[in-house]
Amino acid sequence: MNREIDLLIIKSFENDLLLNEQELLQKMLAEDHLMAERYETLLQIYSTLKNYQPDFKALFSERVRSRLSLQRRLKISQQQLYMLMLRISMSVAAAVFVLLIYVLWQENSITVDGLLGLAGLKSDDFTNLLANY
């Protein structure tokens, strides 16, 4: 019951009561002093909350800006770190590739003919190929 009355009172604060609800509320407030007291209390809470004016500590705006600049610096550092890692990994990959080629070359397991796909090919093969064509 209390909740229903509260809802009626809340609606009255919002000027959202239908005519019959308004009449009912007025009648209840006039007849029941406990309810009138409750109405006053809720009204007081409403007005107290409207006057609630907390604020942040001084220099709030400066704190926001310094945090923003910190975030920006952090983002730049992350980008720089990413680029550095990318360069290092590409250099390492290139070095490994060159080393691999060098080792294969030294062991004679790699030749220019081999790389060009001409290894084991004889001049007769070339003549036959032209004849068939």
């Binding site: 209390n2 909740r3 509260d6 809802l7 809340i10 609606k11 919002e14 959202d16 209390t41 809720l42 809470i45 409403y46 107290t48 909350l49 409207k50 006057n51 609630y52 004016q53 907390p54 604020d55 942040f56 500590k57 709030f60 705006s61 704190r63 926001v64 800006r65 945090r67 923003l68 975030q71």
Partner: protein, 187 residues
């Protein structure tokens, strides 16, 4: 900076969009109390509230390119602030659950609801304490509806809940606030 005080909010937002930090500072000056009412109301007068307040404006700065003036800046900021506060309370609850396995849960609850009881409190602190005693979901409704003055409909939209839920949470919150305020007045 002084000239910025007199310019229209839409022009100010345009300057912020162009990366003008002085304009951001002016925007903060105009709206910091509004954001403080939301975050301090939700989280109490704590360092986390200051952090969430700062984060609100940083999120605004990051999202300002997408801001299309469909809602007022104040509404946009309130939405960010209330969402960040709710997230912070969830994190706090997780911390609390973990900590309460180590400590006595009841004594922790009391210290959250009524911090620094021996200190003299001003009216804002009085209200902050009363707000801390109500459920976070109910608190969000009270902050938006009664402190910020949004209509029941707007409050429902911001929190993504039906109007009936807003009214019932408001009613429960008021009942609890009535009791808590009475208790605090007796202290």
């Amino acid at each position: 900076m002084d000239q910025l005080q007199y310019i229209d909010e839409s022009e100010l937002v345009l300057l912020v969009k162009n990366g003008n930090e002085e304009a951001l500072a002016e925007l903060i000056r105009r709206h910091q109390r509004l954001v403080a009412r939301v975050v301090v109301g939700m989280l109490g007068n704590t360092p986390e509230a200051d952090d969430v307040g700062q984060e609100t404006f940083i999120r605004f700065w990051s999202a300002v390119q997408n801001y299309r003036h469909e809602a007022k800046v104040s509404t946009f900021l309130t939405r960010i602030a209330i969402n960040l506060s709710i997230n912070e309370l969830r994190k706090r609850n997780k911390r609390f659950e973990w900590e309460s396995s180590l400590e006595d849960a009841e004594s922790r609850k009391m210290s959250i609801a009524y911090p620094n009881e021996s200190q003299r409190i001003d009216e804002n602190e009085h209200i902050s304490k009363a707000l801390a005693a109500i459920e976070p979901d109910h608190r969000a409704v009270v902050i938006l509806r009664l402190v910020q003055g949004y209509s029941t409909n707007e409050t429902a939209q911001m929190l993504g809940i039906p109007i009936g839920t807003v009214l019932s949470r408001l009613s429960r919150a008021l009942e609890k606030l009535r009791i808590v305020i009475k208790k605090l007045e007796e202290v």
